[in-house]
């Protein structure tokens, strides 16, 4: 059915229904209207499509389809920043994490009904000769309460060794709520020969932990520290630098210089 035929049919229907302005029509006038309408419709459909009509119709069709394609392509391009803005506003993807400032700590309330068991684990790679272990296996802490835990490290060798540690938390959904106030990670720590130190970790679990439906039955978190040996004078990129985020886009300093 061509567009012009559709338009003609619609016009015929409208004209038939608007002819009589009587407020209450009788059955006879209805029948008359029906007959007129059917005649009009048959007339429209029996019209042979003229040549001018056909080319205009195909042109209209092409325009409609092309505009749909362009709109679809535009949507795919616009979806990327739109999704990012959506995530930032609703903090859905964890981009705006829990606000880490002292105001929050001062005002947070302890949640009495949930008791979370935080277990501690320590690792060293085989080449690292520190003895590193947690002082307590686990600690039971309420969300909204700051807690302190200790690790010990000992250097049994006769050379000073510099270590740098990294941590890991499982399960990941609970790790989102685990905030550290102060710890001993990501900074070089030097131990002289034969020395033993206590390494404290001061943390709290965000009170929003109790409001997360995914964490309703999860009461156990594992905090795992690994101590690596650091070579002296090694400048590591700062893991908290916002410019140091992994990305696919090529950065200027990664592109090899052709002119040298």
């Amino acid at each position: 059915m061509s567009l012009s035929k559709l338009w003609g049919t619609a016009r015929a229907c409208c004209s038939v229904f608007h002819v009589t302005k009587a407020p209450f029509s009788s059955i006879a006038s209805f029948q008359k209207r029906g007959k007129v309408l059917s005649v009009q419709i048959v007339r429209q459909f029996s019209k042979k499509p003229s040549r001018i009509d056909k080319s205009a119709d195909t042109k209209n069709y092409t325009y409609y389809v092309m505009s749909l394609v362009i709109v679809a392509i535009g949507c795919t391009f616009a979806a990327i920043p739109a999704y990012r803005i959506f995530c930032e506003q609703t903090s859905f993807g964890g981009l705006t994490q829990v606000a880490k400032d002292f105001e929050k700590i001062s005002n947070m309330k302890k949640c009495e009904d949930r008791l979370i068991r935080v277990q501690f684990n320590s690792d060293v790679p085989s080449s690292m000769r520190w003895e590193f272990k947690p002082q307590q296996h686990e600690i039971y802490v309420h969300p909204g309460e700051t807690a302190l835990a200790f690790y010990t490290a000992r250097n049994p060798t006769d050379k000073p060794i510099i270590g740098i540690s990294s941590y890991n938390l499982t399960p990941f959904q609970a790790a989102y709520y685990f905030n550290k106030i102060q710890c001993f990670c990501f900074e070089e720590q030097i131990l002289n020969p034969g020395e033993q130190v206590d390494l404290p970790v001061f943390f709290y679990i965000d009170p929003d932990y109790v409001n997360d439906p995914a964490l309703e039955y999860l009461d156990s978190i594992l905090l795992s520290y690994t101590f690596f040996e650091a070579k002296s004078g090694l400048k590591l990129p700062d893991p908290f630098d916002p410019k140091n985020r992994p990305s696919i886009a090529p950065s200027p300093d990664k592109i090899p210089e052709a002119t040298k």
Partner: protein, 85 residues
């Protein structure tokens, strides 16, 4: 290891709020640390019972220059009476 998806929370590594503890090489606060460990052991690893002993540890650290002085409110000890400068 890490999941991806539309409704998965992305966890990014974040810095500790006050940075890193300076190492206690001389063991100046070892006594307070041992007190805290003993308290934890007695109270069956309950953090709520032993928070006052942890506060002593922090006070020791602050007094010996091993920790930046901070108000107790900001460290989560808002209900305590003393205020560190």
């Amino acid at each position: 290891m890490s999941q991806t998806g539309p409704f998965i929370r992305v966890t990014t590594v974040s810095a500790p709020l006050k940075g890193s503890f300076p190492l206690d090489h001389e063991g100046t606060c070892k006594l307070e640390m041992l007190n805290y460990m003993v308290c934890l052991h007695e109270k069956k690893q309950q953090n709520s019972e032993c928070r006052h002993v942890a506060k002593d540890y922090f006070e020791c650290r602050m007094n010996h220059g091993l920790m930046d002085k901070e108000e107790w409110q900001k460290l989560g000890y808002g209900d305590s009476k003393q205020i560190s400068q």
